[in-house]
């Protein structure tokens, strides 16, 4: 019996290894070619950091990268704060329209980004000039990113709040803690993992976001994904591999570190 199970486990692991191969091979090939000297991706492989050096002097890419980081950070703060507040309201209060409001979170998640992005372009084109703003630009991109991140933040934090043991707040009060002390010393630390997960999600959503940025970026102002897309279409050099490798290494690294503190599957 035990033997039989082990064989099953062996097949399972082999299959999973093949799936992982499929998931990782293209990424690894791309990363490998970032370290190859040939500008035409030609073999044999010759190790060289020339493309990383070129990248360091490529102002367009670096600028786009900087824009992406700034937008992702601002997006994370805004979406996490607004989303957590809304999630708190949903978990604390029963009120009319609560369910409708929760249903309203679905369109931003389920409507294709292409539709949302073009809709924003149309709306901003009509309304922003009335307020003296340009219809496209980093401000428009930020507005769009927060809109996409918000529903995820509300859902992720809401899930954490649903498990919140309400009695601990009462317990804190009986022990003499003021509402303020109760929030900071009891409620906030218990909710924190959910908020951190939501913030990470928001950051990744923004840093990764291409479609919305693509429609809302005016010529000359870009984020990293838009710049990479333009470069790919114009005919690319291994510089793109170099920056892509950096992006993937950093984002996976961040996720690995967080995974040590937080269980994503929520299981043993």
């Amino acid at each position: 019996m035990k033997r039989k199970l082990d064989i099953g486990g062996g097949i399972a692991k082999t299959y999973l290894a093949l799936v992982l191969l499929f998931l990782y091979v293209p990424i690894l090939v791309m990363a490998l070619l970032a370290f190859n000297r040939s500008p035409l991706y030609q073999m044999p492989f010759e190790f060289d950091l020339v493309w990383f050096k070129a990248l360091a002097e490529n102002d367009r890419l670096l600028n786009a990268g900087w824009n992406s980081v700034v937008i992702a950070l601002v997006n994370t703060v805004v979406a996490t704060v607004l989303g957590t507040a809304a999630a708190l309201a949903f978990s604390r209060y029963q009120f009319r329209g609560r369910q409708v409001m929760q249903l309203l979170l679905l369109p931003p998640i389920t409507i294709p980004w292409l539709v949302i992005g073009t809709a924003m372009l149309v709306f901003f084109y009509w309304t922003f000039p009335l307020m003296g703003l340009r219809p496209r630009g980093l401000h428009a991109i930020l507005l769009g990113h927060v809109a996409l991140s918000l529903p995820y933040v509300i859902i992720v934090v809401g899930a954490r709040l649903a498990d919140f043991p309400k009695a601990v707040e009462e317990a804190a009060a009986t022990l003499g803690a003021t509402p303020w002390q109760t929030f900071w010393r009891v409620s906030a630390p218990i909710i924190a993992p959910g908020v951190v997960a939501a913030a990470l999600f928001a950051f990744a959503t923004s840093f990764d976001q291409f479609v919305i940025s693509y429609f809302l970026a005016p010529p000359g102002v870009t984020t990293l994904p838009v710049e990479i897309y333009t470069s790919i279409r114009k005919g690319f050099t291994p510089e793109i591999n170099a920056i892509s490798t950096i992006i993937i290494a950093v984002s996976m690294g961040v996720m690995l570190i967080t995974a040590r503190f937080y269980k994503f599957g929520g299981e043993r």
Binding site: G9, I11, A12, K13, Y15, L16, V19, F22, L23, V25, P26, I27, V29, M30, L33, Y41, Q42, M43, L82, G83, A85, R92, F95, M101, L104, P107, P108, T110, I111, P112, W113, L114, V115, T118, A119, M120, V122, F123, V146, A147, L150, P151, A204, D208, F210, Y214, F215, P225, I228, Y229, I232, F236, S244, I247, I248, S251, M252, L256, F264, G265
Partner: protein, 287 residues
């Protein structure tokens, strides 16, 4: 202030900013686009516009939109199907056949690419699929006399890239619902005389169906609207409705047509779900 009033203000203060934001960035833009879709002149053209349904009519009148749409739906279908065929067994293996630290590590490895840039992952496939790329080289190292091999800018290339992009979704949703199935249910079915395949067919699969469905929805909807992936991996050959919509906004600047096509696409997605809904409901997926 009475406690009731105070509560009202608290709710308003907490939810107001988030929903005002969503109104300005999602709901008002969608309304604006609906309005735009019935204009006869693009807002970019400084000429007074009047209302027309011509943009919607164009979808049926111009001969290439229907095949284009069919093409997009097929792309969604194939991508979803392959994600299921590859992803479900992986989710099953992970949830039911692997235990402990192995499971944690493998799970993490599978969701990890999901957190890295989607565009970069699509781009990485060009390195693998093109002539002289990784796959070509691997093939020639085994069969030196094989003809030159180039998958880039073909339909399969688009499907492979999309499956690669969306596979983690399917594995994740299936894994969640498979993992929730208590092992004792399977043991109970076995004790009642069911064989392994019967247990799977009658117990495990039906119970995991909600995961399959939500995975399929999460994949099918965005793939229908995809334009970046087909453009990079499919080139001119892999034209989709999404690519055409994008062009209406960025190249030809015919916004009203693009808007009408967007809503037509949304309608098609809704119709597909409306048709599937009774079938899924009967199977108790959304009970």
């Amino acid at each position: 202030m009475s406690p009731r009033q105070r509560q009202k203000w608290a709710i308003f203060g907490l939810t107001g900013p988030a929903y005002a934001w969503l109104a300005v960035t999602i709901f008002l833009p969608l309304s604006a686009m609906l309005y735009c879709s019935v204009l006869d002149v693009s807002p970019l053209v400084p000429r007074p516009a009047s209302f027309t349904l011509a943009n919607y009519a164009a979808f049926f009148q111009k001969s290439f939109y229907l095949p284009l749409t069919w093409w997009s739906i097929l792309l969604g279908f194939w991508t979803t199907l392959f994600c299921f065929l590859v992803g479900y067994p992986a989710a099953y293996a992970l949830a039911k056949r692997v235990k402990g630290r192995w499971r944690e590590a493998l799970f993490l490895l599978i969701v990890l690419p999901f957190w890295s840039n989607a565009l970069v992952r699509i781009f990485s496939w060009t390195m693998v699929l093109r002539q002289g790329g990784f796959l070509d080289m691997a093939l020639h190292s085994v069969f030196p006399d094989a003809p030159a091999f180039n998958l880039l800018f073909t339909y399969p290339a688009v499907v492979i890239g999309l499956v690669h992009s969306y596979l983690p979704y399917m594995i994740l949703t299936c894994y969640v619902s498979l993992q929730a199935i208590d092992d004792s249910l399977m043991e109970a079915a076995r004790s009642l005389g069911a064989e392994n395949t019967t247990v799977f067919r009658r117990v495990v699969f039906p119970l995991s169906l909600p995961g399959v469905i939500s995975g399929a929805v999460l994949i099918f909807v965005p793939v229908i609207g995809s334009f970046m992936e087909p453009r990079i991996l499919g080139g001119a050959k892999g034209a989709t409705l999404g690519m055409n919509i994008e062009e209406q906004f960025t190249v030809t600047a015919n916004w009203p047509l693009g808007a009408a096509l967007s809503f037509t696409m949304l309608a098609i997605v809704l119709v597909i779900f409306a048709v599937l809904y009774p079938i899924l409901k009967r199977r108790g997926v959304w009970a």
